[in-house]
């Protein structure tokens, strides 16, 4: 059993332990408190039996690396799917913008692979004009850049020496790589260097949040 847990760990202990992680990831406990208690009660059974808070609705494969992905909260491993579903698999956690979690309890529905999903990545207020920041959406490392009231998203990886572009210098619609100054247009990812353009992603602002649209990876 991990040291954070102990014999006699309670539902309230789990809430206190997981709540802050979920919040950092943009999620909160479902508003249906009875459902939350039922899921956490099940997790306590699993903790008691298997030594960690594995998802009570999925089976462990026995491969420790795979099993780590189903330790609750599993949000980081399925961020793009959950952003589309507005909840985690079971609905224990819901996105912070969901007011009534009751409707999200039930079916485990996952979006089709390849579906484009707008994923909230940061608050517009946290991204001053003329700056960039690195965000990770699913498997994509993305630099989000703000120019005035517009936001843009492009691959965070410079094609030259793989530097993190978000640490570079923003000048109008150009972001210059922090290592050797390769210049990319944030609107379309183009650069002066041959065959070195980077991928861009649609980016928008809704209710003060920056959303980046990515295609979902394979279903799990």
């Amino acid at each position: 059993m991990r040291r954070v847990f102990h014999e006699g760990t309670t539902i309230e202990d789990l809430k206190a332990y997981m709540g802050p992680f979920a919040e950092r990831l943009g999620y909160k406990f479902n508003t249906e408190t009875e459902f939350v208690d039922e899921v956490l009660e099940s997790e306590l059974q699993v903790l008691d039996r298997d030594g960690d808070v594995y998802c009570p609705c999925r089976v462990r494969t026995g491969d420790p690396k795979e099993d780590l992905k189903i330790v609750c909260p599993c949000i980081p491993f399925f961020r793009d799917e959950f952003a589309a579903m507005r909840k985690c698999w079971c609905g224990l956690f819901i996105r912070q913008d969901v007011e009534d979690g009751a409707e999200l309890i039930g079916v485990i529905e996952q979006p089709e692979p390849g579906t484009a999903v707008a994923v909230p990545v940061c608050l517009l207020a946290d991204l001053p004009s003329g700056t960039a920041r690195h965000v990770k959406v699913g498997k994509n490392d993305i630099a989000v850049v703000r120019v005035g009231d517009e936001v843009y998203a492009l691959s965070n990886v410079c094609r030259h020496a793989f530097a993190p572009l978000a640490e570079g210098f923003v000048d109008g619609h150009i972001i210059a790589c922090p290592w050797h100054g390769w210049r990319y247009d944030v609107r379309d990812g183009t650069t002066d260097h041959p065959n070195a353009d980077v991928r861009t992603f649609p980016a928008t602002v809704r209710d003060g949040e920056v959303l980046v649209t990515v295609p979902l990876g394979r279903a799990r």
Binding site: V46, P56, C57, G106, V107, A219
Partner: protein, 81 residues
Amino acid sequence: MKIHLYALSTCPYCRMTKRYLDEHGITYEITEVDLLDGDEKQAAVDEVKRLSGGTSFPVLVADNEVIVGFNKSKMAAVLGL
């Protein structure tokens, strides 16, 4: 109609599915996969993967239909409730 429910003893949605089936007087076989051991468990996990493409529960099999998760409307349609 032959109905088989693959479930985990720890899974709230599996409990909801059982409750739903019981309330509607449906007769079904059940495999509680996490209560099995060794080869038997592996065989059940493999079967669930084959049927559903994943390892999320519950998985309800009614003749040729496979329903993953607690999906009331789909169960009602498939079971004619």
